[in-house]
Amino acid sequence: MQPLLERLAAGDVLVADGAMGTMLQAEGLEPGQCPESFNLTRPQVLLEIARQYLEAGADIIQTNTFGGSPARLAMHQLADRTDGINRAAVRAVCDAVGDRAYVSGSCGPSGRILKPYGDTDPQDLYAGFRRQIECLIDAGVDCVCVETMVDLNEATLAVKAAKDASPSIPVLATMTFDATPRGFYTIMGVSVEAAAGGLADAGADVVGSNCGNGIERMVEIAGQFHEHSRLPLIIQSNAGLPQMQDGKPVYRETPEFMADRARALIEVGVSIIGGCCGTTPQHIRALRRMVDASGRR
């Protein structure tokens, strides 16, 4: 397979996969259960999810390791299983996709708050990310995706941990912004401009945003990234904020709606387009069709 960054440099637009959590729930993930526990107990479920996204047309498939840092796993008393949990997740995706898609090692927030606002030392967070990411790289991921970050300092630590673990591994880094009357900020007060600059300085190869308030907001965020960054951009939007229907959450944005609005992402120069919460293989299939029709694959 051609290296990921070469394809992006050539101007190709790639499709990433969609949500993991909602797919795991459909497979019986209980409220409060550690999603990454499936990596040890039911890896065949992960293989099947990866296969569905591959079949839908994703070029990049993520591992089920969003909460795979030791700090996060510690909330479920699973910190001592960090290595096995991360390695098993990579193995499952590799088994499912072979070399038909890039395997992206997901690395989400630790759930801790850094000093002086919280109680966590930066070197402890760094060490945790480093341990997780070394497992991901060693098990064979093609890139690392630091995602859903709201604290730029934490994101920076994770990006650095990845680059220190392997200077040649492509690192994708995305943050999650809220729409405020004064513009887009993370809850920790990071603007798109600050994120674009800070993530690039830390060594990220691809920057952007994930989750958020729906695809239309994401188009605005992507425009701001384009303004403040020269790196390739990645956008993984959720399918809108969930609304309740008969006591069950429903994500309103349909595959067609999302793909239609996502066309504007290509126009502002986004290189990787995928989904987040509430998106399904159908959303990814629609994005695939849109990207193919754009002639930029």
Binding site: Q25, L29, E30, P31, G32, Q33, M75, H76, G111, I113, P116, Y117, G118, T180, P181, R182, Y185, T186, I187, M188, G189, L241, P242, Q243, M244, G247, K248, P249
Partner: protein, 212 residues
């Protein structure tokens, strides 16, 4: 600027040592405890809450201000107890069973304390029985529940149902909040109120306990 305004200013800037020191000074000068609380600490947290609501400041500034408020409260608490000044209300707070997210819940707790409430924080992953048991044991008039996951939201209904089953309707009110929660959902499960953010939650809790 008088001493209480200084406390308020330093709290807004998140200077915990200064707030602790100035609060001590105010106590030594025999200023009424109620004034130190209302015009110093609570006045400062009100400004912090309003600025956070207006997105002028973000979580880091709120966390620092909260720490400064606690530094002041540490000094003031013995005096409040001595003078028999009650909190304006008592609330049991927690993230519902299965939910390990607590940033939003903590923020609500900070704001409620900043508004003069006594907050019994049960942490996260709180079972329905624990919410209701704690409210009964502590004599709290409000149960506040947070959920960040659509999968854990239904637990809020279990708590609201349990309050009714135990015949506590009207005595113990329930308020819900969190990213996936809405006013419609609150109504659907029979909760008494919904707070769309931390500052709004404080307003709603105040009206639940009839404090203007």
């Amino acid at each position: 600027m008088d001493l209480l305004e200084q406390i308020s200013e330093q709290l807004i800037s998140g200077e915990d040592e200064q707030v602790g020191k100035l609060t001590r000074q105010a106590i030594d000068q025999r200023l009424p405890a109620q004034d130190i609380l209302d015009r110093g600490l609570i006045a400062g947290m009100n400004v912090v809450g309003a600025r956070f609501k207006a997105h002028e400041i973000f979580l880091p500034e709120v966390l620092l201000a909260a720490r400064a408020m606690y530094a002041g409260m540490d000094q003031l608490k013995p005096l409040l107890i001595e003078e028999g000044i009650p909190p304006i209300g008592k609330i049991v707070l927690g993230s519902v069973q299965g939910d390990l997210h607590d940033i939003g819940k903590n923020l609500v707790g900070i704001m409620l304390k900043g508004a003069g409430f006594e907050v019994i924080d049960l942490g996260n992953d709180v079972a329905p029985e624990r919410f209701v048991d704690a409210a009964q044991k502590e004599g709290a008039s409000v149960i506040g529940m947070s959920a960040l996951l659509t999968t854990t939201m239904p637990m809020m209904k279990n708590v609201a149902d349990l309050v009714k089953q135990r015949g506590l309707s009207g005595k113990v009110k329930t308020i819900v909040g969190g990213a996936p929660v809405s006013a419609e959902y609150a109504a659907e499960i029979g909760a008494d109120a919904y707070g769309f953010d931390a500052a709004n939650a404080v307003d709603r809790v105040k009206s639940l306990v009839n404090v203007a």
